[in-house]
Subunit: 465 residues, 2 copies
């Protein structure tokens, strides 16, 4: 923690009549100093935490802060991995979690309006009684908020079939840097009306505007859901099988890679007895004919020497998936001396997925590190982390190098530095390398046009120079 | 035609060593003075037509034009309906049709790189031998270009299942207003890396940048395709059935409305003997189980008193669809004294589709006009036009009023002024009404940030004040 003294004069907040609360408590400031990805040494306390309860609150705070040159950083569950919501220049942490209203579902339009603080799983539960669900829910959906998902254009296991968060956000109410309130997007299923501000706001991590309400699109729950787990002799066989399944048109709702090291962590964590070999976890959604789709998948997997392919439904399927869900906890508890750090989510064209996975393993070997590798393989999305001892400078240096080399390699083969976690502070250094100077300067021009005073979440997304 | 004398000095073009041609011929200038939606009286001749053959050509022309204060308006097939590519401030018409290269298909990534001048149907044909297709092809796909589709974020009959053009564009090479060349988007299937410039460029109608190459995503051709045509006793039954099918989760690849008047036009045009009653045209794509999906659809339609539901495949299905494809020609030849004018494409949330269709018919009756109504009903997208005599001032006024009232009504019920044709010049007057002042000013700020001299397609999308 680098400081506790206030950096900005936020006394102007007193003059605002807010519905929500304002807190200067050290404990609350401390809670808002970073997210899951922020190292403790890099945390910065916000000067104040404001808990808005209405769009009017957000508008009033942002307008006044913009007038007074005080940064405003929207915050919610704090589950970001790139310090996306860390108040690196202090100022106001705007905690959106009290704006968690979930409106009446409109089943005739397949829509629901929610506040940005609504937890993803709560939305899913609220719409379930209409036979609907919110397809792009990320793996963190039990604890992360809709606002956070929109901020990074999150995605999840079902993205391979259903798409990412942006695809399921129709309209947003947004407070701009000057405090003005606007709607972007349309509740119509498609629109060619003007610049696509909705897609610009989604993924902009609170740097271009703060979302105060979202109209989400919903899908009907499939009649048939079955899951499966396939084991392969080598990692190459597993990745080639996954890539082939996707390009052959197997209609999978989830298709996840799980390498032998990840299985080892899972077994150590709970009483599972997973084969410690490369695996593909799959799930199929259909209104009819799910078994025919599974047969199609099996045929593709057999061409890649699949060793076993278990299929399950209902609770048995949930058990099958439990290991995948528990990875983070399993990684944290595996080795008391080592943390699972430097988490990445590079994404490459799916045909290059086998090459990318080979590269990660080569890089891990080179740096003599354990790097469990898993993720949303059907999208070409790869999660990985290094297990290293943060008190060992050499091991830390090697973990950092492995992380950087993995991102570089993904960019070399036409991928992206981040498939779903966003740029935040952590990945700003790769933005220019990925997109080139002209694109980065275009992003900077847009940020300056919409937020000329640099009020909204400064120090994020666009690099300083 | 309002002028033929040049408005801008474009002699700087002589100093550029271009791969492509430069033409000052009146005939070519005249060909580039408007699109399908531009009335002859409103056509403006560009000062010159340039046919670039490379990205370097586009960059050189745009950079020089930007230096000299000369507008550049990209042009392709000219099939726009809102004067999207009309050079309303003259200057350079940049005809992209020679940049029509279709690269090697990458079936392992489901991708292909194409030039903006490539015709949609040619792309579809080129990828077909890999068993792939480009799903969002608009109805004009036989003649319109990929660049044009990207410019308006076009969509088509299959959008209800597969999404719009933006959903199938992964990466774009773009020439910005200062002539710099950049890539936006990613060839990875998803990315959260920085602001979504790709979605900003798509639909921006050449006002923020000019697309010089597109990486498109492709899908596998379904094993089973069947089509169908259902007849309903009333228009209300037809629209309610369509809306219900979509929200119930019937997996349709196309679901189009065709009202009795449209059927009447079709019968008059060709030898079809369509019942002159409200109809739904449907198409189903599946790798297996297409008949089960049709049965599900039939059950939904039966709940809305469907009178007949014919199913066909192969050539028989093509015949079934021919009437839908011929609408434009049928409308043009129906009444020698009347033109099908004021074409609209409002889109509303699908639950409000029946209400919207009723409104169109009420407005038509009120103005004593024949307004055939059809379109991509599954998206809530409605096409319509009035048949009116352009030499009759009163009838013209009534047609214009009916058009305006229809757009207003769509906006009132939460829809958009344009689902797929874009804003161009024609719909600029509705932008503020649809999005509000703050959103329009944000769009203007973005345009000024990326194109400070107003070089790119001036007079489009964002209203002058």
């Amino acid at each position: 923690m680098s400081q506790t003294a206030p950096r900005h004069d936020v006394s102007f907040l007193e003059a605002l009549s807010l519905d929500g609360e304002v807190s200067f408590a050290d404990s609350e400031r401390s809670e808002h100093a970073g997210d899951w990805g922020t190292e403790e040494a890099e945390e910065v306390l916000p000067d104040v935490v404001v808990y808005p309860e209405s769009t009017a609150d957000v508008s009033a705070v942002v307008a006044a802060a913009d007038d007074h040159g005080v940064p405003v950083t929207a915050y919610a569950a704090g589950t970001g991995l790139e310090s996306n919501a860390a108040p690196v220049e202090a100022g106001i942490s705007l905690d959106m979690t009290r704006m968690d209203d979930i409106g009446e579902v409109r089943p005739d339009d397949l829509q629901v309006d929610v506040g940005p603080g609504a937890i993803g799983a709560d939305v899913d539960e609220a719409v379930a009684r209409h036979g609907l669900f919110f397809p792009p829910l990320p793996s963190s959906g039990d604890i992360s908020t809709v606002g956070g998902m929109i901020a990074t254009d999150a995605s999840g296991m079902k993205t391979v079939k259903y798409g990412e968060v942006a695809d399921w956000v129709l309209e947003l109410e947004v407070v701009l840097a000057d405090g003005s309130v606007t709607a972007v997007g349309s509740t119509a299923a498609k629109s060619s009306s003007g610049y696509n501000l909705k897609e610009l706001i989604v993924g902009s991590e609170g740097t271009l505007g703060i979302v105060t309400r979202a109209t989400l699109e919903l899908a009907g729950r499939p009649e048939q859901i079955k899951g499966g787990r396939a084991t392969f002799p080598t990692l190459d066989d597993a990745t080639a099988a996954i890539s082939d399944a996707v390009t052959s048109g197997v209609d999978v709702a989830k298709i996840e890679l799980f390498d032998g090291e990840t299985a080892m962590l899972a077994n150590a964590y709970s009483d599972t007895e997973l084969p410690e070999r490369p695996m593909a976890f799959v799930e199929f959604h259909a209104d009819h004919g799910v078994d025919e789709e599974i047969d199609f998948c099996r045929a593709v997997f057999e061409a890649h020497d699949v060793e076993a392919f278990e299929i399950a439904a209902g609770r048995e399927m949930d058990d099958l998936w439990q290991a995948r869900k528990d990875i983070t906890y399993a990684a944290e508890s595996y080795d008391p001396d080592r943390v699972p750090g430097q988490p990445g989510d590079v994404t490459v064209p799916v045909g290059s997925y086998p090459e990318m996975i080979r590269a990660v393993k080569e890089i891990a070997d080179e740096h003599d590190l354990l790097v469990p590798t898993f993720g949303h393989a059907g999208d070409g999305n790869l999660h990985y982390f290094a297990l290293y001892d943060p008190d060992d400078p050499d091991e830390t240096r090697r973990a950092e190098a492995a992380y950087a080399e993995t991102v570089e390699r993904a960019l070399e083969i036409g991928g992206t530095a981040t498939g779903e976690h966003g740029i935040g502070e952590g990945k700003r250094k790769y933005l220019r390398r990925e997109h080139g100077d002209a694109a980065v300067e275009a992003m900077r021009a847009i940020a300056e046009a919409l937020d000329p005073n640099g009020t909204l979440n400064p120090g994020k997304v666009v690099p300083d120079e």
